[in-house]
């Protein structure tokens, strides 16, 4: 299992568009992908789950990857957060 801590950098936060990008990317990997925000955990492959996170700019999320391709999944998803979903900061 791999854990990664990421911060929401884009101005609008984890609203529907980045949530959709995130969920679609996660679906490409076999590994389980969970997102934990302030102790509240959801499945990162579920759009309705990600929508409940209310992750605004500046919030910190703990990502957990578990499965055969967890390395690749973690790297790809970390990159998405790092580039702030290609959205305005």
């Amino acid at each position: 299992m791999i854990e990664r801590e990421v911060t929401i950098r884009n101005r609008a936060g984890l609203h529907t568009r980045p949530a959709a990008t995130l969920v679609k990317l996660a679906a490409k990997f076999k590994s389980d992908f969970m997102i934990n925000k302030d102790g509240f955990e959801i499945n990162g492959k579920s759009i309705i789950g990600v929508m409940t996170l209310a992750a605004e700019q500046g919030s910190t999320l703990l990502l957990r990857f578990n499965g055969p391709d967890e390395q690749e999944a973690a790297a790809a998803i970390q990159e998405l957060f790092d580039k702030a979903f290609d959205e305005p900061l």
Partner: protein, 584 residues
């Protein structure tokens, strides 16, 4: 129906949101709220339950795709995005895998499990601290109800019998859109304002609408006859034959009147003695532009750019804004378009990070918000500047209350110009910059402000509320909101006279500019531009073309000497009669 209901008509007064007159049967449109019963399913029936869910999801997906396409076509890509999120939820395999396995394990009916499972998420979202997530809870609720309705194999109400008057508590954009594919006589709702999304839509679709009709639904049953006057905001339930006659006569008069006015389209808004004023339109959506051109407007006197934020979930980027502004510039060219920078409350951009304001009208809004978030302001200003390439765009700042704000905003415009120059992008170097006069303080120092702007535009709705200390949305005091309060009239004279000392044009874009009773007075006070709702343009033009400027000045002078609103209104009504103006 009890006999006395047949005899007694009930009159409601609301806010006229889209002009026109209609008489027809009521159709009570209600949000579908499914009734959910928990049932146990036999093991051999479980797969059938799951199949039922699959076909309900298919139907829901087809419905939503249609709504999404229709919204894109009627409202544009940006505003249609609200329906995209709902479509994605229907595809959420984590959600539906867990629903499938709960049906199998708990042996419960699919309605119960779908409701229960989605409710878990909805509850979390409703409790969220940010407004954005709480609003998305409505999307989740909507999509859940759509699935449940399809499970119960009820049809989406999209085809209506005959041509009804839609009566509803409020009208979601999706519902208004879907219903508008039928022949709708009118929309009447209990809540909503003139700028609510359904009101905008009604105007774009040219369907009469009245909003803000409190306690209406309790008095209406399906099929009740309704008389709707979208000009005055009056709605009558079970009207008497005499009332129907009267309202239909009014409709005929309006039609004849509009027929006569249509001949004015290509004539200028000019008095018989040669005083030419500008008659322009207030606009929210680009969909309205064709109608505005047909109405013979001299341009756009107020484009409320914040309507871009309605329904859209993300603050539009510079590029998205530019594309929208460009549509306005190109469609209206060579006529002028005044783009007002975002006039929004702070909650629009900050979500839960703002503390709730106990007095938002006196709080963080308009230019105050934008100056505190200069990066957003610069983005908008760059988008406006880029759209100004053909030199028919002006820029206007809302809620200015002191010189410092104006200077700061102008400095940011300079910065934005520098950024565009560095990028090698074309724009109008001499773009005209104006301000709204809507805070009384700005009216008091307007002679100083006028030296630093190219034009001013009086926003009467807010100015009157601030000047008279009356919230017109507050039923208890709304009677005190008086357009013709002598203080208002004298204040207007001051704003117009003092601005003209600097030789700049004075416009008005508040509701008063489109009130026929005020036209001669405003003309006489020296107003240079009337920016009005598109539907009012022909009538205001007719009045301007009927009264000599010389006489209007005398009338204004007399009006200024009056000391009560009643006296003023009576006088102006008398003047209108003398000139045989108005519909009556």
């Amino acid at each position: 129906m009890s006999p006395d209901r047949n005899q007694e008509e009930i009159v409601f007064r609301g806010i006229a949101a889209s002009p026109g007159i209609a008489v027809g049967p009521a159709y009570l449109f209600q949000k579908h709220v499914p009734v959910i019963n928990e049932k146990t399913v036999d093991p051999e029936g479980l797969e059938a339950e799951i199949l039922r869910l699959r076909s309900a999801l298919d139907r829901s997906r087809r419905e939503l795709s249609k709504i999404y396409d229709f919204a894109k076509q009627k409202l544009g890509e940006h505003q249609a995005k609200i329906f995209e999120a709902q479509l994605m939820i229907l595809e959420d395999s984590v959600l539906f895998d867990s629903i499938d396995s709960r049906i199998r394990n708990e042996r419960k009916n699919v309605e119960f499990i779908v409701h229960d499972e989605i409710e878990k998420y909805r509850k979390v979202m409703v409790a969220a601290s940010d407004e954005y997530t709480r609003e998305r809870a409505l999307d989740v609720e909507d999509v859940r109800n759509r699935i449940l309705r399809n499970l119960q194999e009820e049809k989406l109400i999209s085809k209506l019998e005959g041509a009804p008057v839609i009566v509803s508590q409020s009208l979601a954009a999706a519902d208004a859109l879907i219903l508008s594919r039928n022949t709708i006589l009118a929309y009447v709702t209990e809540v909503g304002g003139v700028t609510s999304h359904s009101a905008l839509l009604a105007r774009a679709l040219k369907i009469p609408a009245v909003v803000g009709l409190r306690h209406l639904i309790a008095s209406v049953r399906n099929g009740d006859r309704m008389a709707v006057d979208g000009y005055s905001g009056v709605v009558v339930v079970n009207p008497t034959a005499a009332t129907v006659d009267e309202i239909l006569r009014k409709q005929t008069r309006y039609k004849e009147f509009e027929g006569k006015l249509a001949g004015l389209r290509d004539l200028p808004a000019e008095t018989p003695d040669g005083r030419r004023v500008e008659l322009t339109a207030n606009v929210e959506l680009s969909e309205e532009l064709e109608f505005i051109k047909i109405q013979g407007a001299d341009g756009i006197g107020l484009y409320r750019s914040e309507s871009m934020l309605l329904g859209g979930e993300v603050f539009p980027s510079e590029e998205e804004q530019y594309e929208e502004y460009r549509i306005f510039a190109d469609t209206m060219y060579p006529k002028r378009v005044v783009i007002r920078t975002f006039d929004i409350g702070g909650d629009k951009i900050m979500g839960s990070q703002t503390t709730r304001e106990s007095n938002p009208f006196l709080g963080w809004r308009g230019i105050r918000v934008m100056l505190d978030r200069p990066e957003l302001f610069l983005e908008q200003v760059r988008a406006i500047l880029r759209a100004s390439e053909r030199k028919n765009i002006s820029m206007m700042f809302p809620m200015i209350s002191n010189i410092k704000e104006l200077r700061k905003a102008r400095q940011l415009v300079q910065d934005a110009k520098g950024q565009l120059r560095a990028r090698g992008v074309a724009y109008d170097e001499k773009i005209r910059i104006g301000i709204m006069i809507e805070v009384p303080a700005a009216a008091v120092i307007v002679e100083d402000l006028a030296k630093e702007v190219d034009f001013v535009s009086i926003g009467t709705n807010d100015l009157i509320q601030y000047l008279l200390a009356v919230d017109r949305g507050n039923d208890v005091v709304s009677d005190l909101y008086q357009e013709f309060h002598p203080a208002v009239v004298r204040f207007l004279r001051r704003i117009i006279d003092r601005s003209k000392e600097s030789d700049i044009p004075v416009a008005m874009c508040g509701e008063m500019a489109g009130d026929p009773l005020a036209t001669i007075l405003l003309l006489g006070l020296g107003l240079d531009e009337f920016s009005v709702v598109p539907a009012a343009i022909p009538e205001i033009k007719k009045i301007i073309r009927s009264v000599k400027y010389r006489d209007a000045k005398k009338i204004a002078k007399k009006a200024l000497s009056m000391i009560t609103e009643d006296e003023l209104k009576k006088y102006l009504t008398g003047v209108m009669k003398e000139y045989e103006l108005g519909v009556e």
